[in-house]
Amino acid sequence: MSGSDPSKEEFWRWQEYHRIVPDIKWSSKDVITAGVDVGSVGSKAAVMVNGKAYSWGITRTGANSPESANKALDYALKDTGLKVSDLKFIVGTGYGRVNVPMANKAITEIACHAKGANYIWGPSVRTVLDVGGQDIKAIKIDETGRVVSFLMNDKCAAGTGRGMEVFADLLQIPIEDIGEISLTVEKEPEPVSCTCVAFAKTEAMGLLRKGWSKEKVLAAYTRAMAVRMANLINRVGLERELVVTGGQSKNRGIVSRIETILGVKCLPMPNWREDGLDPMVAGALGAALIGKALYEKAQKT
């Protein structure tokens, strides 16, 4: 990006990637299933072999949901040798789940995130905070990953992935760095009182003009967003262990502030950059697992 016009840089743009877990071999006898999670911002697909994560792909959602679903699944299947026809069962989930053309069934993302969180972190998880592109959900689950209750904050961009993208652009900080950068302030500022992302566009400029550093502005907004998320968790009833899924699970600025506000530690984030599972694909992993169960049930009858 060096030498390009900084105003044209897309600070909101996050990295698309795909991964294959080594050492897993598949044959046509295996139960191979997939989950496709078409979110408002990101489309994720995961492939499981006998209920074990095998490969996944994360792409940006375009204007067309079916296309985004196809793109995500193709990305997850890339270099695996698998074809869509090798998949025994495909579950569509997420905001665009009814528009997943190859899916055998559509399941709500709440059930899928619950199941996915249980898969990634194990049976001790009781509360899942899923921060998606356009909504925030606090989900209570049991030891099998089944949903007990949930609360959702929708119809407001404050705290969502989309809201964070707007901040990244506004402050001209790459989105993947905003979490760490928000933590570089010496003293945590008071959270901003107005969380409306639309107003932030003018208010943040006012704070910068008053002499606040970018880091301080970002910290004040991140804090306000974390307060909203913590409130949602408290309303659903916090029970340990707590985990965060969705794109914002990668935002240390958000997660660590939620931990401070609630006074509990979240279960540690898998090392998704190296070889760990990615909490952003929790919904797709859960969908693939539910797909396996549905396939096996259908085989029995």
Partner: protein, 261 residues
């Protein structure tokens, strides 16, 4: 007796000069980064219209979100108090007053003397205020003042996420790619705003006459959606954007009269 009311809003500063119960001057300008200066300019323009000077003004009263930055002010009045006072002054039968401004919407209940009885405010969310129309007009690439007339051409509202400016903006972009009708999108914007405002009024109880004031009252698209939603015709006074400033000028007049006694 000559008094002046100033309304320092988030987007515009308005000034009204009142002489013996009659408006003799009014002016407005953008608040910008220096609302004090903007208010001084609006007052001076309004005085010019009235052929008066600063020294003729007996009492200045200020209201609005930037009330702390008002010049000349002898006193201040709450935004709700100013709306109630001026609303009943202009429309004596007014019992519910809705004020939709650039960044805030308010609804209040008042008595026949123009005293506020109860109120509801929608603040800190752009979706219920004028900022929403502005953001959407930018996304639609339509001039702000054309949004209203455009929306009136639609038979139905387009299915957009019209409850948040940020989501609405992204929705509009993808709808434009799909060549959805701009009038229907504009209608969805006004319908969503009308939903928010009418739910505020229902919390107060609908007491006719319902008077709509504030800058957004000048938007025919919003008025049509609100009337449809409420199932009645709201009354819009002439110069609805000056109602806050007028309320301040009226307050100034009664305070000056009290001081004179």
């Amino acid at each position: 007796m000559i008094t002046c009311g100033m309304d320092l809003g988030t987007q515009r500063v308005k000034a009204v000069i009142l002489k013996d119960g009659k408006v003799v001057g009014r002016a407005q300008g953008f608040s910008g980064f220096d609302p004090t200066k903007a208010a001084e300019k609006a007052v001076s323009d309004a005085l010019k219209e009235a052929n008066l000077t600063l020294s003729d003004v007996k009492h200045f009263s200020a209201t609005g979100s930037a009330v702390d930055m008002a010049p000349y002010a002898n006193s201040t009045v709450s935004m709700m108090g100013a709306d109630a006072k001026a609303g009943v002054f202009l429309v004596p039968a007014a019992r519910t007053i809705i004020d939709v401004g650039a960044e805030e919407a308010r609804a209040l209940k008042c008595d026949e003397k123009g005293i506020m009885v109860d109120f509801v405010v929608n603040e800190r969310c752009a979706a219920g205020a004028g900022a929403f129309i502005e953001a959407m007009s930018r996304a639609l690439e339509v001039k702000l003042e054309e949004m209203g007339p455009l929306s009136l051409k639609a038979e139905r509202a387009s299915p957009i996420n019209a409850s948040c400016v940020i989501f609405g903006e992204s929705d509009v972009v993808s709808l434009i790619h799909r060549q959805e009708s701009k009038p229907e999108i504009a209608r969805a914007v006004f319908d969503a705003m009308a939903d928010r405002v009418s739910s505020m009024i229902h919390r107060l109880g609908v007491n006719p006459e319902v008077v709509l004031v504030g800058g957004v009252a000048k938007d025919v698209g919003f008025v049509a959606s609100l009337n449809r939603k409420l199932g009645l015709s709201v009354v819009i006074p002439e110069y609805p954007d000056y109602v806050g400033a007028l309320g301040a000028a009226l307050t100034a007049a009664s305070r000056a009269a009290k001081e004179a006694q």
